[in-house]
Amino acid sequence: MTTMTMVKALNSALDNAMERDDSIILMGEDVGVDGGVFRVTDGLLAKYGKERVLDTPLAELGIVGFGIGMSMAGLKAIPEIQFQDFIYTAMDQIINQMAKLRYRTNGDYTLPMVLRTPYAGGVHGGPYHSQAGEAYFAHTQGLTVVTPSNPYDAKGLLLSSIELNDPVIFLEPKRLYYATKGDVPDDYYTVDLRKANILKEGDDLTIITYGPTVPLVMDTVNKNNVNADVIDLRTINPFDVDAILNSVKKTSRAVIVTESPRLFGVSAEISATIAERAIDYLAAPILRVSSLDIPVPFALEDYYVPNEQKIMKAINKVLQYR
């Protein structure tokens, strides 16, 4: 057990996995000699060599496609996209090849691979280093979309993702990379991909969140003594529907907090699922707290993202609703 940042926890996961399994190959821009722009792959080139840690040309389409081919051929690729904002030239590879390969061949080919990428805000990177595009992946049938909220989960979820025999989009909330440290086992362990984490129990309402906004929600709830169930989804698709419904049936009130813009985002699906399956239990509207429905503005990012005030406004509205 060591106290470490999320970056170190992810690095440790990759190291543990690569040590066990020589079919694992990393690839991406600056992941090798440089050790990754956020240092997640630091030291791995030195340890595993340039056959297993590949600096690539500047082409996200190539990074993802190279990984797909390797995984088709029995290796296990872990490509990195330097910022999620740059993933879109690879979108055809992700939606049309990666996500559909198992289904369209009826399992003739399977595709165990983990596409890692730092995502969402927190580094004041403007419209192209801050995007929270999880909804694009969540709506793509065949992908598993995971996002950790703390160092322990980061390592355990990454190792579970590597074990999965299906493609994973692993979204790393870059605002949490160095934000806090946590106790993380040095050895190999996994965290169940299909189970949400109930971070706190309470009777008055249910707050559903994941990834980058989890610490914000916990701080807000603790500081304001909110008596809430707080659910960290961990996996966005397939999400843990039982954890959500059980809690909402208990509390009758729900608020969903995400960093991505609201419209047509992941929080809409959570809300719709509740509205479909637990309407009789509801005593208040289902509210969503999110970023504004605009691109991420460079200078005004702080006014763009959800904050304590906005979350408390929604909580109070839901709690006071009669």
């Binding site: 190959i25 056959e51 590949l54 690539t56 040309p57 082409a59 389409l61 190539g62 993802v64 496609g65 190279f66 990984g67 797909i68 081919g69 390797m70 995984s71 088709m72 051929a73 029995g74 290796l75 690729a77 030239t89 055809d92 590879q93 049309n96 090849q97 390969l101 198992r102 289904y103 369209r104 061949t105 009826n106 399992g107 003739d108 080919y109 399977t110 049938q141 065949g142 598993t144 999965l164 025999n165 299906d166 299909r194 698709n237 397939p238 529907v241 039982d242």
Partner: protein, 348 residues
């Protein structure tokens, strides 16, 4: 890639050449009959092959059992020449219950992993980076052989072509890129029209085979109407691929429509009519006659035999049962998520 191997070494004896010619005739005849099946409604969609037969047969001859083949949607004959069981090929084309893909993908979009054959994908060039990744796996595992991947002339305009060619160069991948240049991407000509001939812009100004230089490796242009030429050049490229990639531009003409949804009269005059000098069937008959392998009589005998065989084949697969609707939700993930389990309840 420890999978069962069926692809045989090509022993280019006269028997082998004659067998290849028979396969070429088979492709031509099957093509017509499948087009016909499509007109009659047995095949909702079909991709014609006429003009590509010599490339296909040549590829089939060239591939060794150590190689991997990632085809595109217009490579039917290569699969036949490789010796993939006709049952697998035909079941796929007719989307039957016995299709190993269970009718999930379009006709000609095969996936034969156990024969080291990739999963054909519709988006043009969408497989080229997959082929590169497979070539990297070969290199990493130090296994023998190379990866051959095919695509059309239109594919060279895509993002994927550039990126895959560049990766192949940078990582020195054991890989052969084979462009089946049939002169058109649906209605768009590969190269500039003669002045005033058409109002279409073209795919590109640079000759395709020369594009390899941009990535630091060699490109060659070959005659794609002679299967022996295709065989020779492709085999050589595969054998040398451990020294790095090669691009081959195999020249031919798309003698039919692009697909059963296309009407070429809208945009071009047919420059290579069936039975004309440039028709690969005629080209190869002439070559094999000159080699003393084929006679007029033999041509007739083969025609009669294959006509019968292909009629029976198409007849059989036209009428075979379709996949059960209950299978529709299988194999999205290795383990069904809750919503797939729920949706199974909706398929009565």
């Amino acid at each position: 890639m420890e999978v069962e191997i069926m692809i045989e070494e090509a022993d280019i004896s006269n028997e082998k050449v004659l067998e290849a010619y028979r396969n070429l005739v088979m492709e031509r005849m099957l093509d017509k009959k499948m087009l016909n099946a499509s007109r009659q409604g047995f095949l909702p969609f079909y991709i014609p092959l006429m003009g590509h037969e010599a490339i296909h047969i040549g590829i089939g001859l060239a591939l060794r059992n150590i190689d991997y083949f990632y085809p595109y949607y217009r490579d039917f004959g290569a699969l036949v020449q490789l010796g993939i069981p006709m049952d697998m090929i035909m079941s796929q084309v007719f989307s039957n219950a016995s299709d190993n893909e269970l009718g999930r993908d379009m006709p000609d979009h095969v996936s034969f992993k156990k024969y080291n054959i990739g999963a054909v994908i519709t988006p043009v060039a969408g497989h080229l980076m997959s082929a590169a990744g497979i070539a990297y796996a070969k290199k990493y595992r130090k296994s023998d052989g190379a990866v051959l991947t095919t695509f059309g002339d239109g594919a060279t305009s895509t993002p994927d072509f550039h990126v895959a060619m560049n990766f192949a160069g940078v990582y020195d991948l054991p890989m052969v890129f084979l462009c089946e240049n049939n002169g058109f991407a649906i209605s768009v000509p590969t190269y500039p029209n003669e002045e005033g001939q058409s109002d279409a812009y073209e795919e590109t100004r640079g000759p395709i085979y020369k594009k390899a230089e941009a990535y630091g490796f060699e490109g060659i242009r070959i005659d794609g109407t002679s299967f022996l030429e295709v065989y020779k050049q492709t085999r050589k490229a595969l054998e040398n691929a451990s020294n790095g990639p090669v691009l081959i531009e195999a020249m031919t003409y798309r003698m039919g429509p692009h697909s059963t949804a296309d009407d070429p009269n809208k945009y071009r005059k047919d420059e290579v009519p069936e039975g004309s000098d440039k028709d690969p069937l005629i080209v190869n008959q002439k070559i094999l006659k000159d080699m003393g392998i084929l006679t007029e009589k033999k041509i007739q005998d083969i025609n009669n035999e294959i006509d019968d065989l292909t009629s029976k084949l198409v007849d059989k697969y036209e009428k075979a049962p379709k996949p059960d609707k209950k299978t529709i939700l299988d194999n999205l993930y290795e383990t069904d998520p809750w919503y797939i389990t729920e949706e199974r309840g909706d398929i009565e």
